[in-house]
Point group: C2
Chain length 340, copies 2
DNA sequence: CTGTTAGCGCATTCAT
DNA sequence: ATGAATGCGCTAACAG
């Protein structure tokens, strides 16, 4: 391992000069800078992160806390991660992923007390999220993707659920649909305070009321069969349903299978709007799904940017950003069928 | 931030005594130990990881390199991560997830030169994986989940593809099936050297030959529609196909839809064996899928254990473990239909 | 513009 | 069984 002293010796300068060449926080003559760079290259020098962190009290590491829930890391989760990691890197930080559970506060405590991470990004934020209270108390800079009930202690970025729900329902309203079925995540997920399940439910209800649409909400396990069963049941109880909105992708596949088994056709008899971010998934379905899609990449980027700003400024609270979803009309929606 | 000196002062002992009570590598009297522990508790002390790492030259951090590929992090990926992280933690290490791309060797270099990580676990190992050569040259301890063509430089753990393929085909053979369609990942994935795609293809061919089964392999994009189209085409060209094996879950859903559209029934007319690890997925399909399932948890645990052993012993090479898959018969397989 | 020096918080080698 | 002293590799005053 080659150290800064080695570089200094070879370049014929003081250690601090090498340090300052690296950080650039004080002027260095071109000649010296070149000599130092040459020495670093010759010796294949690369600074020791631990030593740098210890001396500067800044580790350069941001942790993204991504609890591995039962649904695994979804496609949109991948985009969040990527975007945040890229944003971090372009600012000279490294991002690591920590998979401690939401309620493993001891684990979080250990992690954070060790002084390894400068800041934290929270994924899968729940309405009543113990991590938010803990980090806030501990004074660790953090930002949230999603939103907890404790506001003002940190920046967050979340999907604009109101806009999303309104756009989806307004579109169906234009097509003449008067009753819409909303397929949500299961009761247990809603109760645990999962943002998408809770906030989108509320947003759908508000939007339906505004538009004068009748909303039938069903909570459904994230499984093919659960969707299949739920829709079969509902269709028997309420024949003539003409539109579905769903955030529950796996259940939706089952719903659509049930629709087929009933001899119905999408979009002729039934319109489907899915809330999901992967265009690939939407387009590989038959028929291709009309979607309202959140913008995970934008969200990840923004969450990291807000956090880095907190680190720079020393201010804890920060930007509260809502990111709009986009409606993309594909083949799964059409005008309400005429009643004969 | 409270330091070791604070603890020492409060306990009325030397700094080194606190250090030794923490590490336990030299005898401490009960009385002093208690005093030190009390002081630590009172001051809510927790050791600084950067300082400890700098002084001991051991960061206690293992990095799992998990490039985010287009298929995202799958359900089995989640198990690998969980298992490895747990194993690490129980040995006093922390595991972080790094999402640098497979061919981002510069990024890996930076990461590793910084002295932040003591060891590395490679996921998504490709047959010709640049990371293997790099880490091997750099002398960084690592282990692989999957297998590259460079052997003997590090421990690895991989699915026993030969056993897996043989079990699947032998079961179909018993049921009387003489021709089996194998739905693999797309050509591009195979060409990139993705282990599952490459090795399982070879294993299937060998097993088919051994058993005297005719194998029809098709490479298929990981999309519903790709599977749908591929099977529709194949069924037209080769009517009377009675069995399918697939590693490509998303394509398989399309395949089964195509089967239905052709008026065929699973398992009456067609048997389906899926290679996937999630029992949940298998059971939520209609009909529930017969599977050969690899053991991702076991693999993740073993990979981490092997790595930690390398760290302890200082030896680079290590255990080469093949983990068996398990055949679980559900509702998607049955005897070959009689030809009239 | 550059050099000198004092820590950052801890592990570890000598002493005793 | 305990204490004192040195240094891990680097940053950031402080001097010039």
């Amino acid at each position: 391992m080659t150290t800064m002293s080695d570089v200094a010796r070879r370049a014929g300068v003081a250690r601090s000069t090498v340090s300052y060449t690296l950080s650039g926080i004080r002027p260095i003559s071109d000649e010296v800078r070149d000599r130092v760079h040459a020495a670093m290259r010759d010796l294949d020098y690369s600074p020791n992160a631990l030593a740098r962190g210890l001396a500067s009290r800044r580790s350069g590491i941001i942790a993204m806390l991504y609890p591995l829930l039962e649904r695994g890391i979804s496609l949109s989760g991948r985009d969040h991660i990527w975007a945040a990691a890229e944003e971090a890197r372009s600012a000279g930080y490294n991002m690591v992923l920590w998979t401690t559970a939401v309620d493993d506060i001891d684990g979080l405590g250990e992690l954070v007390q060790q002084g390894l991470v400068e800041g934290v990004i929270l994924m899968e934020v729940r309405h009543n999220d113990p991590r938010v209270a803990f980090l806030s108390d501990a004074g660790i800079p953090f930002s949230e993707i999603g939103r907890s009930c404790i506001e003002g202690v940190a920046p967050f970025v979340d999907t604009d659920f109101d806009q999303t729900a309104f756009d989806a329902l307004a579109y169906l309203d234009e097509l003449g649909h008067e009753t819409v079925v909303f397929v949500n995540h299961p009761r247990s997920t809603i109760d645990s305070g999962y943002g998408l399940a809770v906030n989108f439910q509320a947003a759908m209800e508000t939007a339906a009321q505004t538009l004068g649409i009748e909303l039938l909400s069903i909570a459904c396990d994230t499984q093919f069969r659960a969707g299949y069963d739920a829709f079969s049941e509902l269709a028997a109880a309420r024949p003539g349903i003409s539109a579905i909105v769903s955030t529950n992708e796996r259940a939706l596949v089952g719903v659509m299978e049930a629709v087929r088994r009933l001899g119905l056709d999408v979009p002729r008899d039934l319109s489907v709007v899915a809330m999901l971010s992967s265009a690939e998934t939407a387009e590989s379905a038959i028929p291709a799904l009309t979607t309202v899609s959140p913008a995970p990449y934008e969200m990840g980027r923004t969450a990291m940017a807000s956090l880095l700003e907190c680190l720079d400024s020393g201010v804890r609270a920060g930007a509260q950003t809502l990111v709009a979803s986009q409606l993309t009309v594909r083949e799964s929606t059409g005008p309400v069928p005429s009643r004969n």
